[in-house]
């Protein structure tokens, strides 16, 4: 959702009047945009649609809010341009190159399109010159050696200004369709500025790409099936024409032929055109007449897991334990160093995380519980609290596993191991898992050796419990004896019948 700054000094009179009118914000909504900010120098508009980049320049916005009467932007505009024989050299593999030959009369104003290009590249080119680039040569070039600038992490804005006289505008794009669209948009913008277009050239088969702007065929039945109502002929036609569509209606076949303007990148399916109609008419409820599909009584349901969770919450509430919530992502310091972790290679590392405090995923419910236990507002011990959380971990074969777990922490209670054992037994009984559950000694480094167990039902491990190791407690700054219980809710859900207990 890019924010675009329009400099007031560059805005032509007719558009400026529209921007100063009281219904400007309503009009902006007809191009899915909102007014973000304005002052004496700029008007900042937030465009919701990432794939309407043609709007991110003055000419693009003017075409909708203050159009030039009689101007059409259909495929014939570009089909009528001569194709100039041109040789492109050093075009990187997978990249397409385009050239547009433009004559600028000296009396016409020149505009810097650098800001527009930067916004387009940032939004639909991942900000990389390799994906999308434009350069200008101040003469008519028939042999064009492609050089693509290196990516620049700084916020420098490129300069992209035509000079009076002859210009060759060179576009390179990894995505063919985006390249073709940018060529078409420059064609429309230059025409609106009054420049003369002398021809174009392409390193690829452009006819196939231009075919994307051929008329769409849309039967009346498809309109009604999508809308659930039938718009009047006149309204449908006039609304689309205001959006620069060329329309033709075959009455006998009850079929529309609708050509999108060539500056539209986003029109690839008839439904895109139909949405434009709804947006332009403001989702008129008198026309839509909403009606629910769910009028007949129907019974929904919860997942077994959420039923199980509610059962456990009820039990823990009666026990007097407090529920809390935890974060899935945490820091290396919390998950490895403070946890005294013996296998950090099993943790999921998010290499492109921007926040170093959130670049690893928790592999156990213990870290979020400990994090909460040392939270300034945590209740004073003795206390017991619990949470439900997803955990992620890698196995030996680098397969990532996700498990939904319940973690319980008993802080500062007497007899921490026995208390945890008793609570675990009660929970297993509550879930009717008791008789078949078995305990086996385990060896997890965050728990004290000899005071920790895994719980299994048959061969399936369903949880673990034990006393938290003093080394871990010291590293977290939690100076109370603490015990920990963890239940694997995915494992329990698989063997649990919701009607049990």
């Amino acid at each position: 959702m890019p924010n675009i700054d329009f400099e007031r000094r560059l805005i032509p009179g007719q558009l400026a009047q529209v921007m100063d009118a009281p219904d400007f914000e309503r009009k902006l909504l007809s191009v899915k945009a909102r007014l973000d900010y304005e002052d004496a120098d700029i008007v900042r508009v937030n465009f919701l649609d990432t794939f309407r980049p043609e709007l991110w320049c003055i000419e693009g916005l003017s075409r909708y809010l203050a159009p030039i009467p009689g101007r059409h932007y259909d495929l014939t505009v570009i089909e009528n341009l001569p194709e100039v024989p041109t040789q492109f050299l050093n075009v990187p593999q997978g990249t397409t190159a385009w050239a547009l030959y433009v004559q600028v009369d000296p009396h016409l104003a020149v505009v810097d399109d650098g800001y527009f290009l930067k916004k387009v590249r940032d939004q639909i080119g991942f900000g990389s010159h390799q994906n999308l680039d434009v350069s200008i040569a101040a003469e008519m070039e028939h042999i064009i050696a492609i050089t693509i600038a290196a990516d620049d992490e700084s916020e420098t804005q490129p300069s992209l200004t035509l000079v009076p006289g002859m210009n060759t505008v060179v576009i390179t794009a990894l995505d063919q369709r985006i390249g073709a669209w940018l060529l078409c948009t420059f064609v429309c913008n230059y025409l609106d500025r009054g420049y003369s277009l002398l021809g174009f050239a392409s390193s690829t088969n452009e006819e196939e790409l231009f075919a994307k702007w051929q008329p769409f065929v849309l039967g009346n039945a498809q309109v009604v099936n999508t809308f659930g109502f039938s718009p009047t002929f006149e309204r449908f036609q006039s609304v689309l024409q205001r959006q620069h569509y060329l329309t033709h209606y075959d009455e006998q076949a009850q079929t529309w032929y609708i050509s999108p303007p060539i500056f539209r990148l986003d029109i690839i399916h008839p439904v895109d055109i139909l949405e434009d109609y709804l947006v332009a008419t403001g989702y008129d409820f008198d026309e839509i007449m909403p009606r629910s599909l769910a009028s007949a009584p129907a019974t929904g349901s919860q997942t077994k897991r959420s039923v199980l969770e509610e059962r456990l919450v009820n039990y823990m509430q009666a026990y007097g334990a407090r529920q809390t919530v935890g974060l899935l992502l945490d820091s290396y310091e919390n998950l490895v160093e403070r946890m005294y972790h013996d296998a950090p290679q099993r943790l999921i590392h998010l290499v492109n995380a921007v926040n170093i405090n959130r670049e690893y995923a928790v592999d156990s419910s213990l870290p979020p519980l400990l994090r909460n236990a040392v939270h300034p507002t945590a209740p004073l011990p003795p206390t017991c609290f619990y949470l439900f959380t997803e955990t992620l971990a890698l196995d030996e074969k680098k397969v990532a596993h996700s498990r939904w777990k319940m973690g319980i922490l008993l802080v500062g209670t007497d007899h921490p191991f026995n208390n945890a054992h008793t609570l675990l037994d009660a929970l297993c009984y509550h879930l009717r898992l008791g008789p078949s559950s078995q305990l086996k000694r385990s060896n997890h480094r965050p728990l004290i050796p000899g005071r920790q167990m895994t719980v299994s039902v048959g061969e399936t491990p369903i949880g673990q419990f034990g006393e938290v190791h003093p080394e871990v407690l010291t590293r977290w700054g939690l100076f109370y004896p603490t015990s920990f219980i963890e239940l694997d809710l995915d494992a329990i859900t698989e063997m649990w019948d919701g009607n049990q207990g």
Partner: protein
């Protein structure tokens, strides 16, 4: 005496009321309480006495008080926006508009920049704002002090020019506050007599080890505990976020939807590709999507694997414009990796996956999903996604279904509206607004029809409606937190532990569904 159980504080208030001459109601401040009860404790105990039918309240007067309005409360706590912006401006020497917008809400940013500009405090050049003076005008500090004064004293300062400014900006208001007085009911008088005859002394709540060792318990009376009242339900023990999710879950289940769930680790195919996201859409950028390189996910069953494979093949055809949906496609498939593992970046994959595996229509499902994105603030958030696939789905029925769902969640609302929005995988795309009886409306979610290319890739013979909600945003309108500076502050899934949300109140209609 044993039928009505009173705490020590309640007994003190009861006796203080009994000692008051005459039957005229008295305010809490005028009660002569022997013990060390604070005003709040006294008020709380009085509330319990009224609830138990031992005391009753009546209005004994009206006082004109000056109080902070909501915005005034926020400014009093966090500082005026002028001060916040000024401090940041001096700390960083200059700011862009984006940085100002990150610091302040848009309306405050606009107001403050305009004010500074008019006062010559800042200069704006090439989109950057720089300070032109060293100090803010004294009137702004004065306004901040005035807000603190109003908070502490509940009275105004008509002579202070800050008051006119605060009233103009609707930070404070004068309003009549009822003063309540209390007196004993007949039942309360009888109860007070019982305590007088028993020569009341403080009762003991808990038997302690020290008491047992010293034998001091022999001198004490033990406060009786009620065996008639039901066991105390301690709602505060449940965190408000999961409690609110339970409410939403039951609302949706009652409205006829089936809950589904899925793991947060997804393949890029299910997270984005199947939704027909263009190759260079910013949501695919590493600035947005959290990816995990060099790992795989556990193998699915052969049946699911086969269905996924079929979806991938249909998606490939649709993307190139060779599919059955009538789409002209986005182009070639260079650079796509269906198997790359990512953190789920939005909730729709959870419901859409169910659609791919569904045998029959209609499909009406919903799911709650924790989602993660590569951003510095709040990389984790919670979404709720509702999906309807039905042969009768179209724009009219989608909007009607949105209304059905929203009114199930917001029984106080009278209508819903929609307005144009954009979601890359939905065409049409709308924002949902709920309308309350006072005609106020708020955006609470988003919806649309799944792109036809995606529907074709999933192999569904009908249109598909999707409705998404940010759970925190929903909570903003449904959950009240009286202790927060802004009572409608959203529940933040990133707020861990035991903060002010302990006091969060779930609305009555929501509690009934628990």
């Amino acid at each position: 005496m044993h039928e009505i159980v009173l705490s020590d504080n309640e007994i003190q208030i009861l006796q203080a009321l009994a000692k008051m001459p005459g039957e005229a109601p008295v305010s809490i401040e005028d009660l002569h309480i022997d013990g060390q009860l604070s005003y709040a404790q006294g008020l709380s105990a009085m509330g319990y006495l009224c609830a138990k039918g031992l005391a009753e309240s009546s209005e004994i007067g009206i006082e004109q008080k000056c109080v902070l309005k909501k915005l005034g409360q926020v400014y009093e706590m966090e500082g005026l926006p002028e001060q916040r912006l000024w401090q940041r401006l001096h700390a960083t020497s200059s700011l862009t508009f984006q940085e100002v917008n990150d610091l302040l809400p848009p309306s405050e940013a606009r107001f403050t920049i305009g004010l500074f500009q008019r006062s010559g405090l800042i200069a704006i050049s090439q989109g950057r704002i720089t300070a032109q003076k060293q100090d803010l005008p004294a009137s702004i500090d004065n306004l901040q002090r005035y807000l603190s004064y109003v908070k502490e004293t509940a009275s105004g300062e008509p002579e202070n020019p800050a008051e006119a400014e605060a009233l103009k900006r609707q930070l404070v208001e004068y309003k009549p506050i009822k003063v309540l007085g209390y007196r004993l009911t007949r039942l309360g008088q009888r109860q007070a007599n019982l305590y007088t005859k028993a020569e009341f002394q403080p009762m003991v709540g808990s038997v302690t080890r020290e008491m047992l060792l010293s034998g001091a318990w022999r001198e004490k009376q033990f406060r009786p505990l009620s065996v008639v009242a039901p066991p105390e339900i301690r709602l505060e023990l449940q965190h408000p976020l999961p409690r609110f999710i339970t409410y939403l879950r039951r609302s949706l289940a009652c409205a006829g939807f089936r809950e589904v769930a899925g793991p947060i680790l997804e393949t890029e195919f299910w997270n984005l590709n199947v939704l027909f996201m263009q190759k260079y859409h910013p949501v695919r950028s590493p600035r947005h999507l959290l990816t995990i390189e060099g790992v795989s996910l556990p193998a699915d069953s052969s049946e699911i694997e086969a269905r996924t494979q079929a979806c991938q093949e249909r998606f490939a055809r649709e993307y190139q414009g060779l599919g059955t949906s009538g789409s002209r496609g986005w182009g070639n498939l260079d650079g796509f990796d269906n198997e790359r593992v990512v953190m789920r970046s939005h909730s729709t994959p959870v419901t859409v996956r169910q659609l791919a595996y569904a045998q029959d229509l209609p499909v009406r499902v919903f799911g709650f999903s924790r989602c993660c994105r590569a951003r510095p603030e709040r990389p984790e958030f919670l979404q709720m996604d509702v999906l309807v696939a039905d042969t009768a789905i179209n724009v009219s029925t989608l909007v009607g279904t949105i209304k059905h769902i929203c009114l199930a969640i917001f029984p106080d609302a009278i209508d819903i509206r929609v307005r144009a929005a954009y979601f890359p995988f939905a065409e049409i795309s709308v924002d949902i607004l709920i309308v309350f009886p006072d005609k106020s409306s708020f955006q609470i979610g988003s919806a649309g029809l799944l792109r036809p290319e995606s529907v074709a890739a999933l192999g569904v013979p009908a249109l598909v409606g999707i409705i998404g909600f940010n759970v925190s945003r929903l909570a903003r309108f449904l959950v009240h937190n009286p202790k927060a500076p802004d009572p409608r502050k959203p529940i933040d899934p990133n707020s861990i532990g035991f903060d002010a949300f302990d006091e969060t109140e779930i609305p009555i209609h929501a509690q009934h569904r628990f």
